[in-house]
Symmetry: C2
Subunit: 562 residues, 2 copies
């Protein structure tokens, strides 16, 4: 078991007949999943997702995989295989296609429908190839075979990739609910057949590898919803992910049972449920779903609002309702709000804020800490062992997880019989070669976080985020001085101002004379270089603020020459 | 049931014979617990804690209750009763005593020992009165009686307060483990006796009111620790709260069982366990606890390190070990790290970061998602009902919780028979009068968050935090212009610089000419007022950055006159 290698060199050339696997995202953080396979000079990409920023990435909208390693080889890319339609698997497709719009996208019907809707907003019409479980498809030298997997979105696929270098199985994200709503279980029998054939390398979802046991079936949520619906005397508002068709189906079923009409709220909810219905993935009884206007005209005990905003997003439908800022809906005493969703790590503060706002407004709020209104979409340890035991991989590469998840999955692999030196524990950018049936870590390529902030991609980097963190924690103090460009003499200022530092209007009375004094001393010493003067101002203010406040605001000295 | 009243007026004078209850903290957020009782012109304070900031309060060290409402009445304060020694109940004592150091502190032995250690660091020697369960103590007109409660720290107390206005029971924080390690159960029999006497107002801990059921006994963690110790072949590092004596006791017991020595790491862990041992609250077998140096000299399979840092604090012992920055300990493959602690909401990102760092370094990390190594210190709904049913309060005021918790507790109160109009749902600063056996919300006093940042208390306010958030999300763009103070003509600049905005060195090439142009136009129009010129610069830069970047950095225009 290898791992935690910070300083690996660029990989050597791929030996003839070998398969190279380079995860550009998804290993070390949950999100921006993307794996590049290389054989015989050709590339195959599996997934191309985004990562959502946390408090460590202030002001950032999205984080993309680093395409640098493949940018000059886009001509060699045979296809992008998309295992399912979640943002962390498809969200970066528009950014990659911006470089080369004709790379074919391969995926299931629902997955492609979601990615096409996304691309349409950017006026990109992609080349697509729709596949389904059971299908085999040669994509250049990569003979791909697709398998049904059960996940928290319909129509998810695992992909087996055959090349002369060996057989690789990439599970995508999956769990093994044995009684899923759509009857479409993860194809363990298919995995077993691959295992019998001999899987040289298994890449498998690690998200829940730390958690012991098995998932609760999705259908167990139905009775919990029913009991909530049975008790509710007013309006019911349910929030969940806009792609969780089965969760929405159960809300529809409960609504039907309890004679309530349902209105979808939130752009993505309306759009995705339209797609799901058209593809036959969502069954809607006639007359059950109504428009928002019709719903608001009904008595409260006949309405269910099915909304976005389960992650506490302040601009979402639920976020706006919680603070009385939604155009049509105001939450009121008597309302029951159900957050039938996960709580994505990092979103806790936002989610609990919305719950508190709703509670303050008088609503009864039911969430996953309180009742079984959510189950995870990822297999915990007990199920991962089933996969390991039927696939019997010669080499294992845990994917899709933070270090704690990857490490736990590696341990499961070893416990189930994969030799420890055949478990390749990698992080983003690591390069693994499968040569003569053996997977080895051979090097590392650049794999920075690429930040999207507003319209720009990549102009925000780590040092800039450090500046934002300093500014966010302590504000700044700006000190401006005007000097004569010829003599270097101070002719204006010092002007001291600050933002995010102190509300005391007298705060800077003490430091202005200190700056003047320091500049006077500098003049006596004949220092006229603006850069040196800036340093003197910076040091003077920095020393003062540390002694007087024990704080570390950013010090911004400006010397203007006139 | 009242609640969610934003615009209440100052309360009317307290009617003669009435008791006034003013929560200055702890209602609406978990922390800074503080309640002021007033009778006959005298005040009694129960608890005086801090709240720890979250991402919404960047750069803030601590949040204090707002003492404004009582500052000119400190002479009337009879005592500060401290229910137990957690920071959210004692942490603000030094700040209140800074105004008047001779207010007596009343609490149990362990509670007072912790607060005295804290005050000693600030060279304050408080007046104290040590009490214990069963004791009655008149504190001015407030006849106080103390009851044992079981919590995640030893020696916690509830307090009954008798005045001619009626009998009030304040539970403090509690749970009802029926087999606690020290045999000291929450005194439900005592509560029942009060109930028989007639409790006019119950203030009760709401932290877990949303959670159905009952706590798991603390002692159930012992076998889990044993099984971890049985499997571990290398060093064991356990992190928990430095005041959780019983949790530490169980670690000591497992260590003894498995022939390991224990070293305490982290200043507060060493200090508190010393106090606990001296007071007979922690049993240490002879030779079991050793110094850190002795421990590091032992083979790894004979060591347990009992550390602080369970909340992911980067400067704590565990935080430093995780990144290889601790002077004596480096985490390595083979180590087992146990986070035997809660995950305080808002700390998720930090805690999981440390777990990932430890996993990356090769350690096996066990935390509460993975094994039963933590139980909460607060009673869930099932236990709160027991208290409600034996106390049978005439009025209920849920305390210690966010809105979601207070609302859930209010509902339990009503379900258990408290009339809905006798459940007073309040937030910080609300004033409740108990007059003729009836509690009513009568007004509101100022109760801002008072921020400690570095050495200063209170110079950071909400508008300043908004500035920090803007700076933290988008950085700033500073544009400086020098004008002649007589003619108003631009004689220097514009100089444009930025922090936290863009790493592109060419970023401002486009905006400098726009500023010059705007200032030229202003000159033609005869605008020379520096303030107006600043606004022109701000608008020009703001419009440009919105169009070119779709971002909202802070724009900082400076016009210096020479």
């Amino acid at each position: 078991m290898t791992g935690a290698h910070t300083e690996l060199e660029l990989p050597p050339p791929l030996p003839a007949g070998g398969l190279r696997v380079t995860p550009l995202g998804g290993l070390g953080a949950i999100g921006r999943n993307m794996t590049v396979f290389e054989y015989g000079g050709k590339l195959l990409i599996v997934d191309c997702g985004v990562l959502f920023p946390d408090v460590e990435q202030p002001g950032v909208d999205l984080i993309l995989p680093d395409f640098t390693a493949i940018l000059d080889r886009l001509e060699d890319v045979q296809a992008i295989v998309l295992t399912h339609g979640h943002e962390d698997h498809i969200g970066a497709v528009p950014y990659l296609l911006a470089h080369k719009p004709d790379i074919p996208l391969v995926g299931s019907q629902f997955t492609l429908a979601l990615v096409e809707a996304k691309l349409a907003e950017r006026r990109i019409e992609p080349y697509t190839l729709t596949v389904r479980e059971g299908r085999r498809e040669p994509l250049g030298p990569f003979e791909c075979e697709f398998f049904a997997v059960n996940h928290s979105i319909p129509d998810a696929l695992a992909v087996a990739i055959r090349t002369p270098a060996g057989l690789v199985l990439h599970t995508g994200d999956f769990k093994m609910d044995q009684l899923p709503l759509d009857g479409r279980v993860t194809d363990l029998a298919g995995f077993a057949r691959l295992g019998a054939e001999g899987v040289d390398l298994l890449l498998s979802d690690s998200t829940n590898a730390e958690i012991p046991g098995f998932v609760t079936p999705e259908r167990d949520i139905g009775p919990v919803l029913d009991s909530i619906f049975a008790k509710a005397t007013g309006r019911i508002i349910v929030a969940s992910f806009a792609s969780h068709v089965h969760r929405v189906q159960q809300v529809l079923d409960s609504a039907y049972e309890y004679d309530r009409k349902v209105a979808f709220i939130g752009r993505s909810m309306v759009r995705n449920m339209g797609i799901a219905r058209d593809l036959g993935l969502l069954r809607i009884n006639a007359g059950l779903v109504v428009g928002l206007e019709e719903a608001t005209a009904l008595p409260p005990d006949q309405i269910v609002l099915m909304s976005t905003g389960s992650q506490g997003e302040p601009m979402s439908a639920l976020g706006r309702m919680a603070v009385g800022d939604h155009r049509h809906i105001t939450v009121a005493p008597g309302d029951t709000v159900v957050l039938a969703s996960s709580l994505v790590p990092g979103n806790e503060t936002s989610v609990y804020r919305v719950i508190n706002q709703l509670s303050r407004a008088g609503a009864t709020v039911i969430h996953k800490d309180v009742a079984k209104v959510h189950v995870s979409g990822h297999s915990p340890a007990g199920e991962l062992l089933y996969v390991l035991n039927v696939v019997k991989p010669r080499n294992l590469m845990p994917v899709h997880g933070e270090w704690r998840h990857l490490r736990a999955h590696a341990r499961l692999g070893i416990e189930s019989g994969v030799p420890a030196d055949r478990v390749v524990l990698c992080e983003d950018g690591d390069v693994v070669d499968l040569v003569e049936g053996r997977a080895r870590l051979v090097g590392h390529v650049k794999s920075r976080y690429v930040y999207v902030d507003g319209l720009a991609v990549g102009d925000v980097g780590e040092s800039l985020l450090t500046e934002r963190r300093i500014l966010g924690d302590g504000g700044f103090i700006a000190a401006t001085v005007v000097v004569d460009s010829v003599t270097g003499k101070v002719v204006g200022g010092p002007t001291v101002s600050a933002k995010g530092f102190s509300e005391d209007p007298e705060a800077f009375n003490a430091v202005v004379p200190l700056i003047t004094e320091a500049l006077d001393r500098a003049a006596l010493e004949g220092i006229t270089d603006p850069h040196q003067l800036q340093q003197i101002v910076r040091r003077t203010v920095g020393r003062w603020v540390n002694e007087a406040y024990r704080r570390r605001p950013m010090i911004v000295p400006t010397v203007v020459e006139v």
